[in-house]
Structure formats: C-alpha cells, structure tokens
C-alpha cells in the first residue's frame, strides 16, 4: 500500500496541522477555501459587469465613442504585462513543487515587478483622463454625440479598473509576504500551499482584466465614430 507510506511520511511533516489527515487533504482544503473566496469575488465583479451590460445596451453610441477615445496602446501593453506576470506566478508555484528556492524567488520578484509595471501604466492612463477632462462629474467635457452615455462609460471605466487596480495592490502585498517566506525557505515540494493559493488570487485578477480589456478598450474600434 503506497498510501501507508504517505501517512507515515506526513506524520512527521512539521507543516501538517493536527486537524488534517495528511498533507494532500490539508492542501485540498486550502485550495477549495480559496476557490470559495474567488466565487464571492466573481459575484462582486459580476454586479459591476451587469451594470456595464445594461448601460451599454441603453447608451450604445456613447459607449462606442468613449471606448474609441481610450488609448489602445496602454491597454494592450498592460494585457501583455499581466499575462507575463501570470506565467511567472505559475512558474513560481512550479519552482516550489520542485524544491527550487532560487526559482521561487526569481519568479516572485518578476511577478511583483510586472504587477508594479501594470499599476504604473494605469497611472499614466488615469492622468491622461484627467488631462482630457473625461473624469465623470461637473467638469466632464465631451464633444461627441452622446455625452451622457460617454460619462456613464467613464464612470464604469473608473469603477471597474479602479477595483481591479485595488486587487492588484492587494496582490502585490500578498506576493511580498510570499517572497519573504520563500526567501526564508518556508516552501518545498510537500508544502507550498501559500504559494499555490496566492497564485490562484493573482490569476483571478488576471482573468478579470482579460474581460475588462476587450469590454473597455475595444468596443468602439471598428465603427467609424462621428464626432
């Protein structure tokens, strides 16, 4: 029975908490718990996406105009940056699975740098919005046909990308802790749950952006917008 060996081995694992049978059970409990949290996050962003669907149907022209006004370059660059960070995150987990401390540290640092680059690009984009007076409110300026729709688009743009950026900031905090733990040599092939579930969070934030990018940056590209 290979199973018996596993139990005998795990009985001595200092990372096994007493209320779990063995290490795989402990990890599965953590992963499942993280997924339950991510489901609540899906619903959290879901409400905002519902608002997006509704207002886009009601203010179709305004949304296309406003989306057309956003600089596609920065959005596409940030999409690439986030996909790269998801790769380095996945490789950090793999390094932990392979007892590779150096690999964990290098990949976690890369993930943090890419996440910071994403936020830097976001800062450039936000400042351009202030410069162009497309911040929703009394000083909103719009020279297109549908100023009301455009303003609603920008309200949703800031709410969605702002919440997403907030998640990125939380993710950077998480990654800093994980990097510190990895540097201390806390993870190995039998225990890497914190890297794994922090990675789940990071990838989730990446997935939110995968949907935000086409819905915010790309909806007005094909239509010739008449101002």
């Amino acid at each position: 029975m290979p199973d018996a060996n596993v139990h005998a081995h795990d009985a001595h694992n200092p990372n096994l908490q007493h209320h779990f049978v063995d290490m795989p059970q402990q990890q599965e409990a953590s992963v499942l718990g993280m997924w339950v949290f991510l489901v609540t996050e899906v619903m959290f962003f879901g409400g905002m996406f519902l608002a997006y669907i509704l207002y886009r149907m009601w203010y179709y022209q305004g949304f296309a105009e406003a989306s057309h006004h956003i600089d596609l370059f920065w959005g596409a660059l940030n999409t690439v940056v986030l996909i790269c960070s998801s790769l380095t995150m996945a490789l950090a987990v793999r390094a932990a699975q392979l007892n590779n401390r150096r690999g964990q540290i290098v990949n976690l640092i890369l993930t943090i740098l890419l996440g910071a680059a994403f936020l830097g690009v976001k800062a450039i984009e936000y400042s351009a919005k202030f410069r162009d007076h497309v911040i929703p409110g009394p000083h909103f300026e719009w020279h297109g046909k549908d100023a009301v729709g455009a303003q609603l688009f920008y309200s949703l743009y800031f709410a969605l990308t702002g919440l997403h950026a907030l998640h990125m900031i939380v993710g950077l905090g998480l990654m800093s802790v994980i990097l510190f733990m990895a540097w201390r040599g806390r993870f190995n092939s039998t225990y890497y749950t914190p890297v794994e579930i922090s990675g789940l969070y990071w990838h989730f934030v990446d997935i939110v952006w995968i949907f935000l990018f086409p819905l915010l940056y790309l909806i007005g590209r094909h239509a010739p917008v008449t101002f």
């Binding site: 879901g46 007892n99 990675g199 789940l200 990838h203 949907f211 086409p214």
Partner: protein, 109 residues
C-alpha cells in the same frame, strides 16, 4: 484520478512540464493579438460576441492550466461551475427585469 490519495506522493499535486506553461502563455498572447486585430473588423454586434468568446477561451486556459483546475478535485469543479451558474443567474434575471420594465408602463425606468 480526482481522488486526492490517488496521485499523492511525497510531493503531492501535479507538476506540469515547463513546455505546458510556455504553451499556455503562447496561446494567451495569440488570443490577445487576435482580439485586438479583430476589433478593427466591422461585424456589427458580432464583434462583442467574438471578443467575449476569445476572452472566455483565454480565461478557460488560465483556470485549467495556470490555476491547476485540470488536476483539481471534483468538489473544486463543482464550486467553480456554481460560480458560473450564479453569475449567469445574476445577468439573466437582472436583465429580464430592466429590459421588460417599460413593456407595461411600470414606473421606475
């Protein structure tokens, strides 16, 4: 295979080869390039459908491979499937309400 005892060794959990991660990365990059390129082709409302189809495909690859759900337990699959069901419920019931409000002259729109 979804029984966790089945694939548990000293180092439990599935260790995927490097080539798999790079392959998924390439697919995500390709998807991004396609979604940007196709946004300039005028297909009317189909544009949004295509963009969403590409986004769902990219998200599926991230979930299955980067998030290791392909090798996760059935219980994890159920939780994830439930999130999709609830999200669709939110969208469909929310939209039926808003889109049908002015059919019968009900105030509130």
């Amino acid at each position: 295979m979804s029984e966790h005892v089945h694939d548990s060794h000293a180092g439990h959990g599935h260790i995927a080869p490097m080539s798999m991660y790079l392959g998924v990365f390439a697919i995500l990059m390709l998807g991004t390039a396609i979604t940007v390129g196709i946004a300039y082709v005028d297909m009317g409302f189909v544009n949004t459908a295509v963009a969403l189809a590409i986004a769902v495909t990219k998200a599926t690859f991230v979930v299955l491979y980067f998030m290791h759900v392909r090798w996760a337990s059935r219980l994890t699959w159920v939780v994830i499937a439930a999130s999709i069901v609830w999200l669709l419920l939110l969208f469909s019931i929310g939209m039926t309400d808003y889109l049908s409000r002015d059919w019968m002259g009900v105030p509130g729109r």
